[in-house]
Every structure is written in structure tokens, then in C-alpha cells.
Symmetry: C2
Subunit: 221 residues, 2 copies
């Protein structure tokens, strides 16, 4: 009981900070994407593909969050995109003060688009507003089409759902049903934008990047 | 700072309760397995295969934990194994009082082996002792072989690691390296037992079930 009250107070402070951060980023014409998924759904690979697609038109950077490692940030920096790594040291999600630390370290002014790669987790990150302009989640085909039944809050709060690893649909290894998934997701979130794609083959990356690009121009203009 | 202190106090209470529960289960000759993984790594499918393999020799039951649904418990009950569903209502892990509620609802006396299917999450469940006799985790091949670098606590605390969906290794869709994974895991946990298997094809299930069965007999005799 006591834990829950502490959590609620922290969340309410966090919500207020998130609103302030969103306002500041709007003024500064910087679009912030909070990217969430299970471990191994392909957040870093998606970021590599997306930034490659958009790097000639937008100034971008990435804030990587992990419990304890910096392998993801290194992959991003190797691709020519500035990145910083936040080690959460056990924390299972990012909150606004952690995101602000990341933005400070990047010197976010002058950037058009910043991605936050949140901790790999479908539970806790769904509960904490990061102050991002939009929330995006990845579900990968091998995880199964039943995930909206089990993690409804995450599916409810996102502006876009990326269904990654669609190249696995062509094998007999999975009975993942894309139509059934969409039906389950729309029950929770009628207007969510769904992008089936494969970060490995590149299929579907263009549609997703074009949608994101139009959102960035709309926000920053 | 305040949150961390609350968390530490709760964890210390929980550790004490966990020790007491482990002692009680030893006396009652009941073996309790805490099964953890990311969402969609295949916890329920593994339980269906494992209980089918062992149901002629052991009296078993399953405690399912989910944020919000009962689809997993229904699959277990349909297979002829008693199961109860704990809906955590937002909590990202199980603690001892929640497990005790499950054991009470099952009437655990007279059972040889009980499985807890923890919330799908590689972060928070690693931090909370459930009072189980052993901790087991599943990593599935599509998640990637870099997960020990990112979620070291989970890999450090488990007695056994199941590498599920090894049928995916035969495709060109993944560059997962089983030897590299093992090397990374053993750096964190020298004596962990590793079982590569596929819950879909049944490959490797027998070796894992035999190991578990021998642990149960050792504990309960």
C-alpha cells in the first residue's frame, strides 16, 4: 500500500515535468520519439535503418538507455549519428529527469529529431511519461500476436506500433496472425498507426520513415 | 533518493519472507520453480511441454502471473494441469506475498512440483526473490545473443537458462551464436545449467525435464 502511494506521487511529479519538457521542445522545434519494446524486438536495428533513411534531411541524435552496457550507443555512433548512453543502474524505465540528463549531454538545441531508446520492457516504461512528442512501440513477430492481451497499457498509449521481423512470417516457425494482432490492438487504441516492417531486409522502412518525417515537419514548422 | 530507500526496505522484508517460504516448502516436500523471461520467449509453451513430459511421475500445478489477462492459465488448465492466475494489476514482478496468495489458492500441500510463470520482464523479476527453490530463465533465439550484456542480473541469479526456439537457428533470419551466448553467460554465472531446446518441435525437452526431475527428487526426498 505504501509503495503504491510513493509511486503515485512520483508519477504525478513526473507528469508535470513531462508536460513542461514537451512545451520546451515544441518551442525549440525539436521532435522527441520515445521508442519502447521487449528486449530483442529490434529497437537499435530500427534506429539504424530509420536514421540512414532520414539523415540527409534531418539533424538527428539518439539517447540510449540500458540497465548496464553501452553496446547499443556504440552501434549508433559507428553509423555516424551522435548518441549518448544512459546507464539506469537497475531502473526498469526512464523518467523525465533521466531524459533531461540525456538531452543536456547531447546539447539538443539545433537538432530536429531525437530518439530515446527506452529500457527493453513492456511494463514499466508504459507507466512513465518521458516528455516525448510521440510514443512508439515495437512488437516483433516471434513474440506472438497475443501481446496486446497481456500488456494493454503499452499498446493503449502509443501513437505508432511497428511490427518488426515480418520476414519471419514467411517461415513455418510461427503462427503469428497480423490481422488478429491488428484487431486486438485497435480494441485498445482505435487510431494507432501500424507499420509492419523488417529492419533486417528493409521492407516497410520507407513507409514508416515517411510517416515519421511528416510528423516531424508538422511539429517543427 | 526516497524511492530507492523505500525499495530497499521492501526488498529486505521480501528477502526474509522468501527464506521462510523456502524452508516451509522444503519441509512440505514441494519444489517451486520461478520461471522468468521477456514477453513472448515461450514460458507457457515450455510449461505445457514440460508438464506433459513429467505428469505421470509428479503431481504438479502452475501459478500464472500477468498484468491483466488469464489466457495463459486457461491453456495450462486445458492441458489437465491445475493452474491459477494472478493478475498483478500493473506490478512488473511477483514478490513473496503474491506467491503465497497463489500457493494458498492452489492448496499446495501434496504437490511435488509447482511452477511460477513470472511477469514477462527481464528487469524487475530479477530483483525480487519469490521464495522459489530454483530460478530458471528463458532466452529465445530471436531476442539475440547480446542479452547477457544488457540484463546481467537476470543471467547472474538463475540456476538454469533455457535457450528456446532453437529451430530458428536453421534459418537465415538470425545470426544468433550459441557459443558466444554461452561464453557471455558463463562470465556472469559460471555454473549455470544451459538447455537449448524448442518448445515447438520438442527437441531438447527431454534433457531439460530429466535435469529438473532429478532436482525435484533430490529436494523432496
Amino acid at each position: 500500500m505504501k509503495l503504491i502511494k510513493v509511486k503515485e506521487a512520483i508519477q504525478s511529479d513526473n507528469d508535470q515535468l513531462a508536460g513542461q519538457l514537451r512545451g520546451k521542445l515544441k518551442e525549440e522545434k525539436t521532435f522527441l520519439v520515445n521508442l519502447m519494446s521487449s528486449p530483442g524486438a529490434g529497437k537499435t536495428s530500427l534506429l539504424l535503418q530509420t536514421t540512414a533513411q532520414m539523415k540527409h534531411e534531418l539533424r538527428m541524435a539518439v539517447i540510449e538507455a540500458d540497465i548496464d552496457s553501452s553496446v547499443d550507443a556504440e552501434r549508433i555512433v559507428d553509423s555516424g549519428i551522435p548518441a549518448i548512453q544512459l546507464q539506469t543502474g537497475g531502473f526498469c524505465h526512464l523518467d523525465v529527469p533521466m531524459v533531461q540528463q540525456g538531452l543536456g549531454a547531447l546539447d539538443s538545441r539545433g537538432l530536429d529529431l531525437i530518439f530515446i531508446e527506452n529500457v527493453g520492457n513492456l511494463v514499466c516504461p508504459a507507466e512513465f511519461d518521458t516528455g516525448a512528442t510521440i510514443d512508439v512501440m515495437i512488437l516483433s513477430v516471434p513474440e506472438g500476436d497475443d501481446k496486446p492481451l497481456k500488456y494493454p497499457l503499452m499498446f493503449s498509449k502509443c501513437d505508432a506500433l511497428i511490427v518488426n521481423k515480418i520476414d519471419y512470417l514467411q517461415t513455418s516457425l510461427t503462427d503469428f496472425d497480423l490481422d488478429l494482432l491488428e484487431k486486438r490492438v485497435r480494441k485498445l487504441n482505435k487510431n494507432i498507426n501500424i507499420f509492419p516492417l523488417s529492419s533486417r531486409t528493409g521492407e516497410g522502412i520507407e513507409l514508416w520513415s515517411e510517416w515519421l518525417s511528416s510528423k516531424v515537419y508538422e511539429h517543427n514548422s
